[in-house]
Amino acid sequence: MTVLTLIDAIKQAMDEELERDPRVFITGEDVGKRGGVFRATQGLYDKYGGTRVVDSPLAELSIVAIGIGAALADLRPICEIQFADFIHPAFNQIVNEAAKMHYRSGGQWRVPLVIRAPYGGGISGALYHSQSVEAFFTHVPGLKVVIPSTPYDAKGLLKSAVRDPNPVLYFEPKKGYRAIKGEVPPGDYTVPIGPARVAREGRDLTAFAYGMMAHYTVLAAEQVAREDGLDVEVIDLRTLLPVDKAAILTSIQKTGKALIVHEDNLTMGYGAEVAAVLADEGFEYLDAPVRRLAGPDVPAVPFAHTMQEFFMPNPDKIAAAMRDLAEY
């Protein structure tokens, strides 16, 4: 086993998929010689050349639309949107086109497309380099939405995304690119799109999270175990669409209490759907109100560090929410 950072695991997955399948190519802004602004594609241009690692014009909707067209022609594009905040010009192509193509053609055409985008705050990126955009897309049947929180899952899920016959949005917690490290086996393996992962087993309550917040939630669970003797189960949702209802319900049967954590703002965020699943199908198992810890309902993460800290959930805030819920 080798210990890799999150971003190196992502790069390794792309490298191995480029090697494995000549139909796989990468396009996006600065993905070529520059190796991506975060270095996710570093070295791949030199290894595979400009035909397969393609610098795009500075235009997000066509990065996605070119990917859709290439996917229709049976290639396997990996499209990088430099920051999730910049994905909105491509919204029509993702939501009206990629997501609906299979359905609208009665199953004739398919769009095996991966859209990678770094998301999330805490990096002084302010309003337009910090957004969490997942909830816009988890509302759209036809899309799959994946957010890894460990290097192992990052590699395995990205490989699954490349091999999936559907459009997959793969959001990467950029604050964790180098901060999150973990063991990654060399060579080929996949992590299936769909199932959530029990990141930590526990009995007292369940915390549901994904991405950077899943990482923080495990840290918070360890903190309250140490300091308060609380035994918190952490479910890393990792695939947000399709929703893994079974994992949500299995855990709540065991613990009876649910805390949902995401850095996207609260209202209509992904936590609302988890709460709805719990209310609808897990009602009789609940021993306490379903709680959500999320970013405040302001347009986006502000720049100054004081306001950014206020916006972002962190292990201390999550631990406090765990204690509060445990006492109910």
Binding site: P22, R23, F25, T51, R52, S56, P57, A59, L61, S62, A65, I66, G67, I68, G69, A70, A71, L72, A73, D74, L75, P89, N92, Q93, N96, E97, K100, M101, H102, Y103, R104, S105, G106, G107, Q108, W109, R110, P112, P141, G142, K144, P165, N166
Partner: protein, 343 residues
């Protein structure tokens, strides 16, 4: 500035090819007329017409490798679709929204043509979305040729991508971004703009400050050509040149076919509010079918007797298609649930 191409590939078309082109234009018109009648009778919910565009579309279709090259059409492309292999019954099944309708299993409105086996991409209703996707298809062709996945001379495989749209749709950012990719990567791509002078009610001068859509091509390093879209052979000529450029790896072409829509935008539109009857009547005299008919008769390729026989055949084909569609079952309610994800 846009340039005219003076090469004349249409001179090499055989009489039977010319007659097939004429037949498809006529069949499309009669099918289209029936659709309007069915809507007036309250039998169908919606129709959007390709009338007046038949010359541009059939001329374009015959210039590419039909049913093999990728085509990403738009909602006026009935004659193009017929020329690529869609049948009158297919179209009628769409109008009536019947079970297992060929393009979308009756999920989409009519005239959203699409067929995997004919390499016609299923389109949506927001305009110009197909342009950057078609550039993506062309990108894939070039990619496969460069990486050895495809033999550039294999005519059983797609060697170009054609996108169709109206002139109003060229105001969309999606058109710009698609054209830009096509130019930057010198893609085997043809953008056929069927300029009928109106985007529903808004005339050309409300869409752009240049006289020809083709003028815009220069900004992308793309060859721009405009042509009389009511002259099927003139369209064939410029499209054949554009296709050969694509096949030879010489890059993309923007073809602007200047035509007219002699009917309202759709069955929900009333064009009397935005243009005069005199204008419409003037354009009807330039009808592409009447014009081609006269040409073929002048050349001794088509006789009155043959024309009468074509009309009889067209009527029978349209009748048959209508009856087949009317007799077909409706989709089951739960057909709404299928094919959300590919397996």
């Amino acid at each position: 500035m846009a340039t005219r191409i003076f090469a004349c590939p249409s001179a090499r078309l055989k009489p039977e090819q010319l007659l097939e082109m004429f037949w498809l234009m006529l069949l499309s018109r009669r099918l289209d007329e029936r659709a309007w009648a069915l809507h007036r009778q309250g039998k169908i919910a919606f129709h959007i017409s390709g009338m007046g565009h038949e010359g541009a579309q059939v001329g374009a279709a015959f210039a590419i490798n039909r049913g093999v090259d990728y085509v990403h059409p738009y909602y006026r492309d009935l004659a193009l679709a017929l020329a690529l292999g869609i049948t009158p019954t297919d179209f009628m099944m769409s109008l009536f929204g019947k079970k297992d309708e060929y393009s979308s299993k009756a999920r989409q409105m009519p005239s959203h043509f699409g067929s995997k086996k004919l390499n016609i991409i299923s389109g949506s209703s927001p305009v110009a979305t197909q342009v950057p996707q078609a550039a993506g298809l062309a990108f894939a062709i070039k990619y496969k040729q460069q990486t050895g996945l495809l033999d550039p001379d294999d005519t059983s495989q797609p060697r170009l991508a054609l996108a169709c749209l109206g002139e109003g749709s060229t105001s969309q950012g999606e058109w710009h971004e698609g054209m830009n990719w096509a130019g930057v990567h010198r893609l085997p791509f043809i953008c056929l703009v069927q300029n009928n002078l109106y985007a529903i009610s808004v005339p050309l001068e409300g869409q752009m400050a240049v006289p020809h859509v083709a003028d815009r091509a220069a900004a992308y390093g793309v060859k721009g050509v405009w042509v009389d879209g009511n002259d099927v052979l003139a369209v064939y000529d410029v499209m054949a040149e554009a296709a050969q450029r694509a096949y030879r790896g010489e890059g993309p072409t923007l073809v602007e076919a200047k035509t007219y829509r002699p009917v309202p935008h759709s069955s929900d539109d009333d064009d009397r509010s935005y243009r005069s009857r005199e204008e419409v009547e003037e354009w009807k005299k330039k009808d592409p079918i009447l014009r081609f008919e006269k040409h073929l008769m002048d050349e001794g390729i088509l006789t009155q007797e043959q024309l009468d026989e074509y009309e009889t055949r067209a009527r029978a084909a349209v009748d048959h298609a209508q009856h087949a569609a009317e007799a077909a079952p409706d989709p089951d309610e739960t057909d709404a649930l299928g094919e959300v994800y590919a397996d």
